[in-house]
Amino acid sequence: VSDETPNLEEGTPFEREVGARRGAELLAAGLLIGSAIGSVAFVVVLLASGDTQLLGLTFAAALLLLGGALAAAATGIAPRERAIEDRPRLADPEATADARERLAMLTEGVSRRRLLGAAGLTAGAALAAAVAAPVTALGPSVGDSIVDTPWRRGRRLVGEDGAPLTADDVPRGSFVTAFPEGADKRELGSPVVLVHEDPAKLHLPSGRADWAPGGIMAFSKICTHAGCAIALYRSPLYEPTSQPPGLACPCHYSVFDTRTGGEVVAGPAGRPLPQLPLEIGTDGVLRAGGGFSGPIGPAWWGVRKA
């Protein structure tokens, strides 16, 4: 598709109106002066108070009035034209054939093309692999660190301020965040959420009978779905009609049933919230009775489902 008429190669005007429209010049001049006032006002505000709203208003005014002046110049002052132009010719079979021929010159008179081609590809692939290899320096491969948490039997539970927590620090109807004493709080395996429920109503999985002394339970605070922090606790206001207590993540609303030891009752999480066994020491301080019931944090392919 092409038209060889030479005079249409560049934008050729076929409608043209020259000369400023009435009032356009005064309008543009006024807007430009208004814009200048806006800019000056911006500087004054910046030096005087620095008020964000006034800064935004004055600078926006300077820009919008400038835009208005430019629009006025485009539509009412500079020559108004409509032009027509040839669309460029895109395909040129002759040039394509010629280029192909020139590219083929590389192998002119070469007999072992396939051997050289294969060797070249091998070198290229090996070089690409070598160039990509330093990527491994960016981080360790996923190993045991991810399964390892700071929790050990007997490790005391402390609050955000580092003070040891006793059973009395965990009220009913709310939750408390706790950490292993002396550990790095930012590690995903550290934070746990403590809840206090009626021991008679718990149906913990077998083997966890002594994990909740006095009805106090600890669960990993990191959601097993995508790793956000569990930050919501649903406590029944009136048992007969309320839903059972649950811990929820505010990112995608996975809900875990505390009475059954963290089973998923709603939302996208695929694994129960890992539970941490608790003991109460002779000093009354809460202690871990061992490690979590399962791997903490978001799932990855190596996570085994118990």
Binding site: V1, E10, G11, G50, T52, Q53, G56, F59, L64, G67, G68, L70, A71, A73, A74, T75, A78, P79, E81, R82, A83, I84, E85, D86, R87, P88, L90, L138, G139, V142, S145, I146, T177, K185, R186, E187, L188, S190, P191, K221, A226, G227, C228, A229, A231, C249, P250, C251, H252, Y253, A266, P268, G270, P298, A299, W300, W301, G302, V303, R304
Partner: protein, 427 residues
């Protein structure tokens, strides 16, 4: 000016291409401005971003906050969060720049999406513009990623929650997820090095790639010239419109000034991302009602309504659940977008010829109906991301909504397709 032109021409032979460029013809249609709005938002992003970079400290080193914001005084924060608070409360015009930068990012992605919608429904992606369409779709993906990196940098509570989800999604990649996530984060989440990696990505790598692709996008447009609606004397052979100089250049500069003016007005007058209210991030902290920037809403929606299915083989979680919403869904969306020019060619039009004139949506009712259904599908998932907000404002229980949305992602596109086929008749 004559002398300057001669000076340059004698050294670069620039006058001939300049003469041609000054007469480049731009068709006149309002919908062609959408791409320009995206371009000018990017200009504002670079300008405000340079300002912010002069003050922002990309480091997670802990320090005690001593700035003017009383509720945080004496709290331990990171250097990144501290410097972002400093930009908000202490640096002259800092809050204006920060908020304008944020608004510009939101508008940038809106404009790209609207531009894509225009391109899609008018068939502007057809031969000879398929390559440029691919560049455009890539720019959309990079713009979303760049925006995510930007608000992840600040280390406020929302940015930390977003990064936690990103880590969860990376971990969910089948077989390689654990290693990929540990490579990106330099170990287990949250770690320390992620901050400097986000920073170099946000202020250098991605902007450089985006700027390069924008240049390629524009170059390819100039090579093919603009498309145009059927409006004689415009034809498959001729493009008709306003020449670059003087008409179009003035108009486009006016648009630049308007876009920048509106963005600075938004940045000055309408609060966005008040990081001091969210507080600093710690892995054990979360907040209810957390919503990302709008352009990530479709992903949080997908993560929320995806079925709770882990694929477990031999006890190993080969495909963890976040894969469906965080990887599979966006891959399908971008896969369809990338392949559309060829899907349409093979399945609908069987038309391999060159098209310089645009379709009106009624000219190709099947494309229009499929496109409307496709966009309705994505918008439905997007709306699901706001289910917790809908619960608060309308009262429909969250669990009920999840099931409603799961049904809606099938029903809504079907209904939209049906209605579009009924309403859109070929002219």
């Amino acid at each position: 000016v004559t002398d300057a032109l001669r000076f340059i021409d004698e050294r670069t032979a620039a006058s001939r291409p300049l003469r041609k460029a000054l007469r480049y013809v731009f068709p006149d249609h309002w919908s062609f401005l959408l791409g320009e709005i995206a371009l000018y938002s990017f200009v504002v992003l670079v300008a405000t971003g340079v300002f912010l970079a002069l003050f922002f400290e990309p480091s997670l080193d802990p320090r005690i906050y001593h700035g003017p914001y009383a509720p945080l005084q004496g709290h331990e924060v990171t250097a990144a969060y501290d410097s972002a608070l400093g930009l908000s409360f202490e640096v002259p015009a800092g809050l204006l720049m920060r908020q304008t930068h944020h608004w510009a990012a939101d508008v940038f992605v809106v404009a790209i999406v609207m531009h894509l919608v225009r391109i899609f429904f008018t068939g502007a992606f057809r031969k000879p513009r398929e390559l440029n369409y691919l560049v455009g779709v890539t720019l959309l993906a990079l713009a979303v990623l760049e925006g995510f990196l930007g608000y992840s940098l600040i280390d406020d509570l929302l940015s930390g929650m977003g990064l936690a989800i990103a880590y969860g999604v990376a971990m969910a990649l089948p077989l390689v997820g654990g290693d990929v996530a540990h490579t990106i984060w330099g170990g287990e989440f949250p770690g320390e090095v992620i901050q400097s990696r986000l920073y170099i990505g946000h202020v250098f790598l991605l902007p450089a790639v985006i700027a390069t692709l924008i240049a390629l996008h524009l170059t390819l447009i100039v090579r093919t010239r603009h498309t145009q609606f059927r409006d004689p004397p415009a034809s498959e052979r001729h493009v008709v419109g306003t020449p670059m100089w003087p008409g179009y250049a003035l108009r486009s500069l006016a648009l630049l000034a308007f876009v920048a003016g509106v963005l600075f007005a938004l940045g000055g007058l309408i609060q966005v991302n008040p990081i001091w209210q969210w507080g600093p991030y710690q892995p054990w902290l979360g907040t209810n009602g957390a919503q990302p920037d709008w352009y990530l809403g479709w992903l949080i929606g997908a993560l929320r309504i995806a079925p709770p299915v882990d694929v477990v083989v031999g006890g190993y979680t080969v495909i963890p659940e976040p894969f469906w919403g965080g990887v599979f869904f966006p891959s399908v969306v971008f896969g369809v977008l990338y392949l559309w020019p060829w899907l349409e060619q093979r399945l609908i039009t069987r038309d391999l010829s060159r098209h310089e004139l645009l379709d009106a949506p009624r000219d190709n009712p099947r494309r229009t109906a499929i496109g409307a259904a496709f966009f309705a599908w994505v918008v439905t998932v997007f709306a699901a991301g706001a289910a917790d907000r809908i619960f608060l404002s309308v009262g429909v229980p969250y669990d009920t909504q999840v099931w409603l949305f799961r049904a809606a992602i099938f029903v809504v596109p079907a209904v939209v397709y049906f209605l579009a086929r009924r309403w859109v008749a070929p002219s």
